[in-house]
Assembly symmetry: D2
Homo-oligomer: 347 residues x 4
Amino acid sequence: MKIKVGIIGATGYAGAELVRLLSAHPEAELVALTTQSYGGKSFCEVYPHLYKYVDQKCCELDIPDLVGKADVIFAALPHGHAIPVAREVLKQGKKFIDLGADFRFDRREVYEQWYKVEHTAPDLLEQKVYGLPEVYREKIKSASLVGNPGCYPTSVILGLAPLLKHGLVDTGTVVADSKSGVSGAGRGLSLGNHFCEVNENFRAYNVGMHRHTPEIEQELGKLAGEEMVISFTPHLTPMNRGILSTVYAKLKQEMTLGQVRSIYEEYYRSEFFVRLLPPGILPQTKAVAGSNHCDVVPVVDPRTGRVVVISAIDNLIKGAAGQAVQNMNLMFGLPEITGLNRPGLYP
Amino acid sequence: MKIKVGIIGATGYAGAELVRLLSAHPEAELVALTTQSYGGKSFCEVYPHLYKYVDQKCCELDIPDLVGKADVIFAALPHGHAIPVAREVLKQGKKFIDLGADFRFDRREVYEQWYKVEHTAPDLLEQKVYGLPEVYREKIKSASLVGNPGCYPTSVILGLAPLLKHGLVDTGTVVADSKSGVSGAGRGLSLGNHFCEVNENFRAYNVGMHRHTPEIEQELGKLAGEEMVISFTPHLTPMNRGILSTVYAKLKQEMTLGQVRSIYEEYYRSEFFVRLLPPGILPQTKAVAGSNHCDVVPVVDPRTGRVVVISAIDNLIKGAAGQAVQNMNLMFGLPEITGLNRPGLYP
Amino acid sequence: MKIKVGIIGATGYAGAELVRLLSAHPEAELVALTTQSYGGKSFCEVYPHLYKYVDQKCCELDIPDLVGKADVIFAALPHGHAIPVAREVLKQGKKFIDLGADFRFDRREVYEQWYKVEHTAPDLLEQKVYGLPEVYREKIKSASLVGNPGCYPTSVILGLAPLLKHGLVDTGTVVADSKSGVSGAGRGLSLGNHFCEVNENFRAYNVGMHRHTPEIEQELGKLAGEEMVISFTPHLTPMNRGILSTVYAKLKQEMTLGQVRSIYEEYYRSEFFVRLLPPGILPQTKAVAGSNHCDVVPVVDPRTGRVVVISAIDNLIKGAAGQAVQNMNLMFGLPEITGLNRPGLYP
Amino acid sequence: MKIKVGIIGATGYAGAELVRLLSAHPEAELVALTTQSYGGKSFCEVYPHLYKYVDQKCCELDIPDLVGKADVIFAALPHGHAIPVAREVLKQGKKFIDLGADFRFDRREVYEQWYKVEHTAPDLLEQKVYGLPEVYREKIKSASLVGNPGCYPTSVILGLAPLLKHGLVDTGTVVADSKSGVSGAGRGLSLGNHFCEVNENFRAYNVGMHRHTPEIEQELGKLAGEEMVISFTPHLTPMNRGILSTVYAKLKQEMTLGQVRSIYEEYYRSEFFVRLLPPGILPQTKAVAGSNHCDVVPVVDPRTGRVVVISAIDNLIKGAAGQAVQNMNLMFGLPEITGLNRPGLYP
């Protein structure tokens, strides 16, 4: 029997990636695609690449009904909107994977400070598991409520985890400079997404105040075993998919590249989705676009005593829908790579 | 037992797509990847998106050895170079799918006139089958030598086939205006492929003299049952993948859109890869990029008495590697969609 | 004394190009920049490339006041909105250059049929001059009301004018296949302008029913001296600026390339902005982007008896703001190239 | 009498920008355009945007002859090649502006260590002036030999200069993360510049070992009055023009944004080309593309105690040809903005 899946917010870019991945997933069956804007329309009219693959209609959200029909619910919604869904899912004993920010934080105060709204379900924050399988795999397996990580945090945390876990860097020196494709901002319309404003343009935004900052700090801090405060700057890149993060940190002591690479090799030895590239090859977004991989390479700069880690993901896959499916696989006892073991497209 | 596959010219873009598709094909096994430039190098170093999927090395071409090892050979080579391969393949009783131009033409004179070289194996032109499954499916099933169609011809022929087969257009009025992404020109270096020369640029090239012209004319002519001479203009578009063809022809008699659509519906009813989009939706390259589909829509313009057909393909897949795999499936008695039943990526 | 200029709709892309061109024009002085969306805001906050060049604020439109202050008014407005402005301009004895469609047509019926609204000032259609200087230079010099041509029409008409003027093509065989950058659709938000929907995509739109069709037909017909009906298909290209038109027509009689080129040479001999490129070089949008030029090259295809004309413009300059300034220069007795004699940027 | 200008390496991208800017410069006259690849060809055939603006032919380089004809020579050559030109220029008492790296360093050892070649004219390093007018204006006025800054250094140095000059940051904490368009790599062919490899891709390169690092360190160090070692990472962005640098540094003491902005305002008060954007607006490459401006904005992050400076330039103009013309203007006693007072193109 296949896993019955309901997707809330199916017609955004992350939602549509969930539909694409799950429609080809051998153990999943889509039972409901809800959307705010396209109720009643065929999903393929909204996303014509899926003709002959998805024949369902978009429907409007009725939470209890949807939860009743599904074994697992994915939500790709603006923050705040996932909380009532989570309540119902838990009441009915189903599973919930939230691609938004409502279940990523351990402390409601942090969420409330950065997202500027009250968190109305602080009790659930204790039940939730942060859905980064490479760090929380065992907890995810038995979780009912998973907060799927943000796209930037995924790239930065996977980039630094081995070093922090081993206590090798001065935690006060971390600078994460990230560059994202435009699909990260979703399919909603804004001047900032207008083709002519983005094309042939590169810019930073939300310098020092992006909401992924505290999420990154929370997870880096847990890996390091101490509070961390970092500089994080997101940038908008004229491309559709991909995040590349360049992360800088001072090494506590001199280390060779070989020593640092050994740490990464060991840490990621049994991970399929994280790829430590061979010496001399650096991550690039094109090599992961269309796949659930995170490519990582640390570089040691003896002149400055810093390690510079480059990591790359597809923001819609490892940074959103693919990671969510990876979490579903874990939560349902499936092999983790089910439905995700495909390389991306190049070029 | 899996089909043993050898690929000649594996490190060009079409070759790399063959590697990607066949490495995930449930009935195929890659036994040799030959290349001129990267002999001895790991294939993944040349194409890093395939880390963890392909672990073979590139090797240099030894034709008899390669043919000995493989059940089927694909070649993605400049014209002229496939002929000695074909000889050896047929001698050893294997199968050959050529992605170049050497086995596309019925008449050597046409090839020689447009490609400016002698065709040294005219006898093989009689054995070859033109590898467009939607037109030559039965012949392909029993063929040993398949000339895989050019990318532009695939889009134009599939766009016009239903109308020509029914004799509905004035064959002297056909104008095919095609727009291609840059990967169609291959991975070789030239000023015309330099990022800065292509980006933020749009241009026509080889006006009235592109080598795909006689290939299109040959196949359209056979469908129509009469010699055809058409205007064909290729254009270079600042994108990686995709061809969109806009094809104009005068209708012999007045027809409604409904009548024309019925013809297409019937003609493509049982085709998986050709998608006649519903009324009101036009083909776009993004909806097929990453897939083996050809999206087609005819528009009737009563003011001018013309039908305008829009068709879209991914030039590297339905226009090259995907169609070649589709041919392989037919030649080996597999379901035609094996390894190809995936939608593309959007956005 | 400088010409006092008012611009209505200054914060759209065409409006902002007017501001950029006129702020550097040695004989012009901007006296009012009106806008619907940004009233009271500094113009540079809306368009930060103009810091240190334009220090005016955007203001809301008060027609009589604006007309009172200015010698010439430019309007870049949706169709229908320019008519009350024209009335007031003529009443006060000023000059008006409309970048919209309200004053491009000779016959109100054509406008009403294609734009689906009543034309409330048919009397003004008799006074208006179609602002294509290469065709109507003398009339423009004495005009008070100029309908600035559409972007697609500019490229198609300049491409075919020499042939039609000499009666060399079969007027029933004209097919114009045009490809435009995204800025042609303006700065307004729509899913069709979202970066991720356009980037890595190519598509046709409004096949057989784009509103520039009757405008092209009107002007081609006048050049040919007979009614013309053509096929015109616009396409959206993933770039900011530029239109390339590929125009096909049957020659009435056999002609050599040399003969056809002579016709173009003679026709455009004294034009600064139209450039007949030397044999062997084809127009490309990048060679005109940022300039007021239209590059044109005819190709003769003896196989089909067709001439294929390629023409390229910057849709915002020769296709809108630059041509409008060219018209202003003529209307005020200035050298036609004043403020426009700059090449574009490459790459 | 106009300044007679010779350009060596005129057909690269930086060279072609020199040609474009100087052909419109009211006080300059191009007397020779030399090139390695296109000798004898008309310059416009190589760069068709300049038809009707430049009618000269490319010629091969004859150093004494060229220097004899010109008052000032610009060279855009690979490193090492400018030294014999400089010798001849000084011998003949002319002026030389080198866009390469041969005359940027104060100490030959630094050059030799990073560029891996011997510097054969160490005596000239003492005569040379580093051509960053905002820092060395007075020296440039009387210089005969100017080393035009690298593109990345221009953006980083102008971004940090005010803070270093006032001793406000901890010099050991500087991280410069820069992102460049592709034209910075020149018009030469390489797989790294192939459209399909760059488009829809973002990547870092030369991490920790880019040759602009010591140039940045030299100039930052002189501003700070102490040796500096920084982390510098360049990235390749899928666009033609533009560099955006994001520069991080720890403030020595707490400062408000207002205090930091005052420092910048004062430092750049009389600079035309450096624009401190108003609060709330961040630099973006599109706002400077096509112009000689450098847009700068400092952001104070009280959480981390860091200042984050964002700066943007057009790498071919303020990062190369435009700055070179600015230097020429200074060296010949012209107003500094002559021929450069144009905003860029947007969008």
